[in-house]
Each structure stands twice: as C-alpha cells, then as structure tokens.
Symmetry: C2
Subunit: 479 residues, 2 copies
C-alpha cells in the first residue's frame, strides 16, 4: 500500500452518488466483501463485531423479559411451507430448494428457511398440551435465505443473519402485549445503541407480514431521506395456530387455539448505521456500538519513549474502553488518521514527544472533527464524557435531519412536490384503500411506511382520493 493513499479521494462523494458511496464504505471500511456465491456477502471481522454488539444488547433485553433461545432446523419440508395460504404466497417465490442430497434425488424438496413460522409452529403444536405450558417465548439467532433479484450488502442479501422470535400465548391480550413490548426493545436498541431515532407504528395491510393480523415496525430515516424498516413485530392471532393445530386445554377444560407472534431484526441494521451516520470521510460509528471506541496513534513513533508511553496509556484505558493502538511502522500518522476516520472510530488520541513532555495528548472527535488538548491525568474522565457527547450528538444530527426532511401534505400535488423537492418522510391522511397506496407509489415511488403511534389530525380527507380519512400515514421511498 502506498503511504500517500488518500482515503477520502477513494470514496465516492456522498451527495454525488449515495448508492455508490454506500458500497465504497462497506468495502473500504472492511465491513464485508462480495463472494463467489451470488448475492451473498462475507461479513468481515470488523462488520461482524458490530453485529456482535447488537446481538449482545438485544439478547440481554430479550432475556430480561423472559425470552429463551432455541434452535430449529434450517430446512423446511415443502409440505409444511404450504400450510398457511398467505404465508406461502408471500415467501414461495423467493425460496431456494434442496432437491438432491447424499447422492440421491429427494422425494420431497426442502427449502432453506426464509423465516421459520412453519417449522416452529409444527413443533409448538406437538409441545403444547395445557394452558399451564404457556407461554412459549422462544427466539433463535440464525441465518435465513431469500432469493432476492437485486441485492445490496447488508440491506438486501440473499443470505442474512437475524434473530427471529416466535411466541404463543393463552390469550389475545397477552400476545398483543408481547408484540408491542418487543417493538419497544427494538426502538430502544436502535435509538440508544445505534443512535438513530425511530418512528414506531403499525403497517398498513398491504405492507403487513405474509400471514399476520398486524405488523408493527420501527422506521428510521437514512442520510438521503429514504426509510429503512429496522425491525418488525407481528401479531398473528390464530392465523397459524389453526392450520398448524396449536391448541391447548384452557382453564375451563376446553380446547382452544393459541395466540401467536413473531418478530425479527437483522444484519440490515448495519446498513442502517452506515447510511444514517456516514459522511465523505467514511463510516461514522456511535460509541455504544463501535467495536473500537478509541484509537491511539503515536506521533514520531521512532523517538525515544513515544511507543512506550502510548502503550502504557493503551494498557490503562483498555480496562475500560474498547480501544486499539496503531503501531504500524509502514504508515505515516496522516495515513493512519484517514484510515481510522474511514473506519468510523469515534475518538482518536494523538500523542507525540512534545505532548509527552507536557503531560498531555490530543483528542480528536470523529463526529465533528474537533481537536482538544487534554492533560493525561484528565484523559479517562474526558474520554468517558466525550464518548457520551458523541453518542448524543450523532443521535441529534439524525433527529434534526428527520425533522428537516419530514413534511406534511394535504393534497396529492403537494405530496408530489414535497417528495421531489425534499426527499424524506411525508405525513398524510389516508382513507384505508390499497388503491390509494398504489397510486402514490406509482406517482412518487413512496410507500406507506407505517401508521405511527403518534397520530396527528392533518386534515379529514385522504391525500390521494379525497374521501374521508382518519388515519395519518408516514410515506417514504425505502430501502
């Protein structure tokens, strides 16, 4: 590698071509790479470490409300997939089929799970006897496969990693409550770990999960104003428990079908982090989810005592922070600065001979490029405070962007104009008809993202057809 390599020059300008910028970051920040398996990526250690932090956070929150992890087969017999009509229609077109195995053609094809409602429902049906057994609140961390035509790293990969929770309950109320509780966990993780504000809401019927009674979602806004669906939680009612015969003897001794939910969040969240926070200098990671929160770059490393002092600081801070030290001999400090900025490390410590003499170092924030000189005895408290500030500031930047790029529209003309001038979220009233959703999509490319929890009474007419409307919908173009 050349010492003068200019990382910024290698990255497409974010405002010139956001899609190309995105791919540049994925590859150059070492998050993932393309593979010989078309449409599937390899998640490199740096990208995977982000996923591990997301996993740990969610897994802990899930366990706090009683979720237990389990593991179900990745292969689903064709006959099982077909048991719920809407579900099979939703997923069959994009599944991959195993037709041969162990040197023989199979009698029945297996698909690789695109999601696991069917295989899990079959087992729940076998395991459930009495109301005393309920609820089952199980989750699995696994890979799934959906044969997408157009793929993009993290955002839409044929294989991706996720968690899928599947629960059954004694009552409708309990199941619905769990559905919403999970949505709160997703919202909390995305806001507090990933520093991205969310809009919580319910999907319109046309955007619901195949087979669900209700789908709840957390929607986030990316740099370019498009929406990213970042986690969904579904209430199924008895739609699966009836065909799969998941029934139990209730408290009255009568047979009853259980009430079901499922919910998932995936590695697409990594795509969300990239697109919500990144800039022309590369990735920008919120401290709470960053695999490396602080990096130390010694200056004039060959000079007496510099490496030693830097290493001493590193060893001390390592006890508390996720930290790295860059002792690579072949690169200049300038190269290293750009390299770590490109990788999105929230905070950089620069320390050279003169700093050491003065008992200080330089602290550089990735989010606002601010440089401050800090006395070494103040370093620990300053880092702690600064990381908190960065986390908060990154959230605020996204929050402000969402504010600026969210408009209201009362008429269709206004809707089209808003979306053209300022691509983002549009709040509009909707009559409930799918035809209006189709028309808006045709005209603007925007889809209904959700009926947000926080409803506003913008007008009393549908933005599209003008008929009476009492639901406010958030519309946006989407990833």
């Amino acid at each position: 590698m050349s010492e003068d390599k200019n990382f910024v020059k290698e990255i497409t300008n974010i405002d010139d071509d956001f899609a190309k910028w995105y791919t540049d970051i994925v590859l150059k920040a070492d998050l993932a790479d393309y593979t010989d398996t078309k449409g599937c990526i390899a998640i490199k250690p740096y990208g995977y470490a982000i996923w591990e932090n997301i996993q740990n956070y969610l897994d802990k929150k899930f366990k706090e409300i009683g979720v237990k992890n389990a593991y179900f087969p990745a292969l689903i017999p064709e006959s099982l997939l077909e048991k719920e009509k809407e579900h099979v229609e939703g997923f069959a077109p994009e599944v991959a089929w195993i037709t041969e195995a162990g040197g023989q053609k199979l009698e029945e094809r297996y698909c690789i799970r695109p999601t696991s409602e069917t295989i899990i429902s079959t087992l729940y049906s076998r395991w459930l006897k009495s109301w005393r057994d309920l609820p089952f609140v199980y989750n699995q961390w696994c890979n799934v496969l959906r044969w997408e035509k157009e793929t993009r790293p993290f955002l839409r990969s044929r294989e991706f990693l996720w968690q899928e929770g599947h629960t059954i309950h004694e009552t409708e109320e309990e199941a619905k409550e769990l559905t919403l509780k999970i949505l709160e966990i997703y919202a909390d993780a995305i806001e507090n770990l990933l520093a991205i504000p969310v809009i919580k809401g319910r999907k319109t019927k046309s955007e619901q999960f195949a087979g669900a009674d209700a789908t709840y979602t957390v929607e986030t806004m990316m740099y370019d104003g498009r929406a990213l669906q970042s986690g969904t939680s579904h209430y199924f009612g008895q739609n699966f428990t009836k065909p799969f015969e998941i029934k139990f003897q209730n408290r009255e001794g009568k047979e009853e079908y259980a009430y079901q939910t499922s919910w998932g969040a995936s590695t697409r969240l990594i795509g969300g982090i990239i697109m919500a926070h990144g800039d022309d200098r590369g990735l920008k990671l919120p401290p709470n989810v960053a695999p490396i929160q602080v990096v130390i770059v010694p200056i004039a490393m060959h000079k007496d005592g510099v490496k030693e002092k830097a290493t001493e600081i590193y060893e001390e801070l390592k006890k508390k922070y996720r930290i790295d030290i860059d002792l690579r001999e072949q690169f200049t400090p300038g190269y290293k600065f750009s390299d770590w900025e490109m990788r999105g490390i929230p905070l950089r410590i620069e320390i050279g001979p003169r700093d050491i003499e003065n008992g200080q170092c330089i602290l550089v924030r990735r989010d606002i490029a601010e440089k401050v000189t800090v006395k070494l005895e103040q370093l620990d408290v300053t880092i702690e405070k600064t990381l908190e500030e960065i986390q908060k500031n990154m959230y605020e930047v996204c929050k402000n962007r969402m504010k600026e790029k969210t408009t209201t529209a009362v008429t269709l003309d206004e809707f089209v104009e808003n979306m053209t001038k300022n691509q983002g979220f549009i709040k509009s009233m909707w009559c409930g008809e799918e035809a209006c959703e189709d028309r808006i999509k045709e005209l603007t490319g925007a889809k209904s993202r959700c009926m947000p929890y926080s409803q506003e009474n913008i007008s009393d007419k549908c933005v599209c057809c003008g008929k009476p409307a009492d639901k406010m919908v958030i519309w946006a173009r989407q990833y």
Copy 2:
C-alpha cells in the same frame, strides 16, 4: 400430567440399553426433539442454554488469543468445493444441493456448507497481499449440513451447530503452533467446563480430516467405554493455499503460499455431557455448564410464609447463581424432586415450615444424592463450596472410569479379549500401516482414536502384524 408420574420408570435402564437410555434423556430432559425435517433436531431452550454456556466459554478463550469472529456464506458453488481433491472426496458424498431458487433452475448447483474451507479460502486468496496482513485468525459460529444416513440427536445430526476457525499464517511454525494452542483451549473447556477428562493426541492418517496434513483431537470416554471425538484442530500446510492461490509477498519480497489451519467443536459436546455423566435418574450436569445450578423446591407451599421465605432466598441467591424456584401448584414435592433430578440440576434446596422455624434448609446433591441440613446464614458459602465439589467429583468419576476401562494389549488376541470383556480404550503399539487399522476394526469394531501426546513404550511390535512399531495408539469403539 399425572402427579404420580415416575420419571425413573420412564427412563430405560442405563445398563440395559444405553442407546435407548440416551434418547430417553434427550427427549425427557427437554434438551431437543425430533422434527419433520428428517435427521434434523430442534434444540429446545434447555439444551440450547447449555450450548450458549459452551459458546461463551470458548468464545472468550478464542478472543483472548486474538481470534476474531466473522461470517461466510452458507452456500458454496459446486466448482469451489471441487478445488481440493481429497477434500471433495471426503465431503461430496454427504452434501445437500440447491438446484432451484427464486422460481428457476440454477445454472450452477450450490451445496450447503458441510464445512467452509473452500469458500473461506477463496476469500482469503483475495484479501491477502503482503506478509504484513498476516495472520488471518477468523472463526464463525454457524450451522452446517452433512447428509448422514444414520442420525442421533446431538451426536450425528444432518444439520448441527458448531464453530469453525480458519486461519492462515506467514510460517509453518506459527500455523502449527496455533493448531496446538486451539487444541489446548478445547481440552481446557471440556475438562473444566464439562468436567470430562480428555486424551490429547494426533489422528492417524486414515482418520485425518479430508485435505489435512495433520489432525489433532481431544478424545473423551463415555459411560459405556466408547470414545467421543470432542474437538479437532487441523494443520493443512499449503494443501489448500496452493489450489486456492492464497499467496503473499514475503519479507524477502518473494511470492509465497500461506500456511493454513482449521478447527471445530460442535453441539455434539452436549451429547458428550449426557453420555459421560448421566445415570438412571436422568441427566447430570456439571455446575459450570448447567443452565440452572440450583433449584429451590418449597415444601408445604400453601402454609403461611413458605412461598415468601423461599422466594426471598431465591431473590438473594439469584445475584450470584443460575437458580430457579419451583412454585408449580399442580405438582407434589416428590414429583418436583424427580423432575429436577431428571433435568440434571446439580443442587436442590428443599425448604418447608419446620425448616423456616429452625432457620435452615436441606441441600441435596444430584451427583451423589447426599442430603445435608444447612443453616440459612451458611447457605451462600455452602452452595459455593458444594458446587465446586460437585464439579470436581464429576470429573473424578469420569477420570476413574477412564482408568478402569483403559487397558493395554500387546497381542491381537489380548486386544480382542480386552475389548470383549471391558469395552473401553486400548493402548497398543502400531506399525503405521492402514491395513492393521482395518484388520483391528474388522475384528473388534475399534478404530484408532489418536496417537496420544503421552506416549508409552508398551512393546516394540505392532499389536496387529507384529512388525516393528514405535507409535502407541489409543483404540476404541466410537460415537
């Protein structure tokens, strides 16, 4: 469920039919269940919690020596699998093929990974440029698929969970060192977490991993004297790096092929725990890996203050131990005792009205069924000490069994007699010829398990052919 249900009666006697006993435990202790996907199990929450404890332990140890987690595609194009001759011969017969996806027949078939050397090597080849990039020490936690004809839960499942580490290095020495270092991690986890003594050694050529130069293994002995291969670490030399062109510019500026390793441990370890420790009353879990270390069963629960006191103790101990409290109204204490014994909980606390009066409780060990009365103020320290003792004792029981069931044989007659009379491990000298391994297998069903690190000079002749021999091999029937 009936209140009189006798768990012990429901479990096949361990000495009557060990295979059936094993399946009984898997199902009745709620570890796993069969599914509609032939040869694949669902790992239930209780079984999965054991796996999570194994994962956490290994993952921490791996990270301590610099291993980084990553994720590679589950689908491998057929052309890739075929690049290394021995490897494809070893795995092709048992792979499953995806031939159709997204509604179309595929131009090239994909197999589901039976192991990931090929797909990872392709990427390593692309990522590696200079000696400065080395080593790559990456691992993935994932599912793999091998189309076995005969399957058994945990021990031999078509789909199973594992970790597979794949590394490349600048020098042969460094790669070999890593191979052995990993074996030490497996040995440590199996001995200290699972309380099962191991024998460390190298596989004979016929038992090596397909494509490896050397395979190292940790072998354990089960209740019936059979061996379980519990973790393997392979040194590949340049066997894959040459066909996959994983090369780098070395310190002298010349092109060189890297040196490679891979290593794995899987959910079959759960099978090992069951078969090494279980008894006629069910599963028996070592405290260090038990999802529940202590269970509290209140006696005469309806009596004033019993539930409250038991719950108070539970809340206090919860801060330190993995603990559960059994407040089920529909079961008698006797039923609960058997139930928790069957599930292998190391320690049970019984507490009733009279105990509360006397400020004490009863502590019952699962491993030796010993009951002691403990003053409540001594409870915490007693539990800590007792859990340590149980862990140690369970290890000792296995160690003694291994000692009793390990014999030496100098002649083939002696070998056959030993294996017939006392199925277990046999130490014998071996000339190095595969023909002798085949003959021994034919005669006794025993295979070479490994050439242990601790060699003994039993004789100077091969136990089978009588020719000069300087290697001591451990032989056993295996799972």
